[in-house]
């Protein structure tokens, strides 16, 4: 008799638990949906400022950047993502200084550890919160960060 009772009660409690579940899903059925309609919502999309999308080198209005080609970022990078091409030029006083020729950055192998930005003594590079980086070939992910014709900003 006892086992028969258990049989009956387990049947009703089981059925009850199923109905509770169905009630909950039905409630959610009529709730507002959480899908983000990207790309239609591009204009209202909030990407926080700190989001590390890609490494950039800010240039000012006169096409000056702050990089002195010291190579610290290249050294700090655990993944060999940054390659700096530099050259020595003589300035008007006859002093040799190192200037940046090209700053190569491979977005494809960047692990966004921020050691380059943290290590930069001049604040020449930073991360930007762009995120649409899809390209068709990997070679397009290797970017030159300094703009053509740019030069290092003169110290006052």
């Amino acid at each position: 008799m006892n086992s028969f009772q258990r049989y009956i009660t387990s049947f009703w409690s089981g059925l009850g638990s199923l109905l509770v579940g169905m009630k909950t899903t039905l409630k959610i059925f009529f709730r507002k949906k959480t899908t983000e309609c990207y790309p239609e919502n591009r204009a209202t999309l909030v990407i926080s400022d700190r989001y590390r999308g890609e490494l950039v080198m800010p240039h000012d209005a006169e096409n000056h950047h702050k990089c002195v080609a010291c190579g610290l970022c290249e050294m700090n990078c655990p993944n060999g993502t940054i390659r700096i091409e530099s050259e020595f030029v003589e300035d008007e006083n006859g002093r040799k200084t190192k200037i940046l020729r090209a700053y190569h950055y491979d977005l494809g192998s960047c692990i966004f550890c921020q050691l380059c930005v943290k290590g930069c003594p001049h604040g020449a590079i930073e991360f930007r919160n762009t995120f649409e980086h899809a390209v068709f070939t990997r070679s397009k992910l290797v970017k030159q960060l300094n703009h053509p014709g740019s030069s290092v900003v003169k110290k006052q």
């Binding site: 049989y7 059925f29 009529f30 959480t34 309609c37």
Partner: protein, 358 residues
Amino acid sequence: MFDFSVVTEWVDEGLRSWLPEGWVLPVEFFLIGLCLLVAYAIIALVLILYERKVCAAFQCRLGPNRVGPWGVTQSVADMLKMLTKELIKINHVDRFLFNLAPFIVIISSVLAFGCIPFAKGLEIIDFNVGVFFLLAVSSIGIVGVLLAGWSSNNKYSLIGAMRSGAQMISYELSIGLTILTMVVFSGSMQLSTIVESQAEGWFIFRAHVPAVIAFVIYLIAGTAETNRGPFDLPEADSELTAGYHTEYSGMHFGFFYLAEYLNMFVVASVAATLFLGGWMPLHIPGWDAFNAAMDWIPSIFWFIGKVAVLIFVIMWFKWTFPRLRIDQLLRLEWKYLLPINLLNLLLMVVVVVFGLHF
């Protein structure tokens, strides 16, 4: 109420006046087959979209919304994709059985589909053991599933097929008994008669308690018959990747996919026919104005509406419950559904014999 036999008779007469005597029947058969297959494909596509939208809503998503307005042509695009996909030739399969299996599955579901009375005067196969025929042809599908699992020469497929065999044979019993319960009440196995006799009131109301119990069991067993969640053990994507159709690609997979949805449609239609009056409008004895108003709605809409609601319930099951384990599945059938079913049959006999129904 509009009777679809007017249309069919008109077509028949037209053909008879146009064509020589011996040609009429073959042409009619061909036309019927064509209509059936087109309806089959369209319903499958609509159901796939319906399922995806419903499941999305349960999951706080929007579902397909890129192809066409609100994504309505999504499943058409999917079908075109599926049709153009390569049928991958797999080594070490039993080629003949492997290719045969999806056709068996789809033939069984088309045959069952043909039995359904869609609207007044719109039924294709209708004879005195219609219910019996429907049960018989819908059971052929299991052969296809077993063949698919066996011939794939894949361990997942084989386990899936074995599960499917155990499951279908068990639940076939429940389906048979619930239908038998309703046949006892209606006194006929002809689907058209069953529908006609519900003009006074749907069976689920007229036969009250036993009919409601039979209806619930039928829905559960029907869900299990169609291999849909929570009874999707033969596919069990998190256990067997895709179960019996793991190795299928292209349109062969498509057949299994379509058959699954159409079987759901068949199950819902049979439930609508046996319990909810098929295409019969809602009639309440004594309320003549109400009944007349109900008659205004065409019978095909009644039928589709009932089926849509039932399919929604089946989807609701799937998108709420976790999958059963094989022993739970069998326990549910043999320890709960079957005894209840037998008692219910007895109850129905008592109701009929003593005239305790409305």
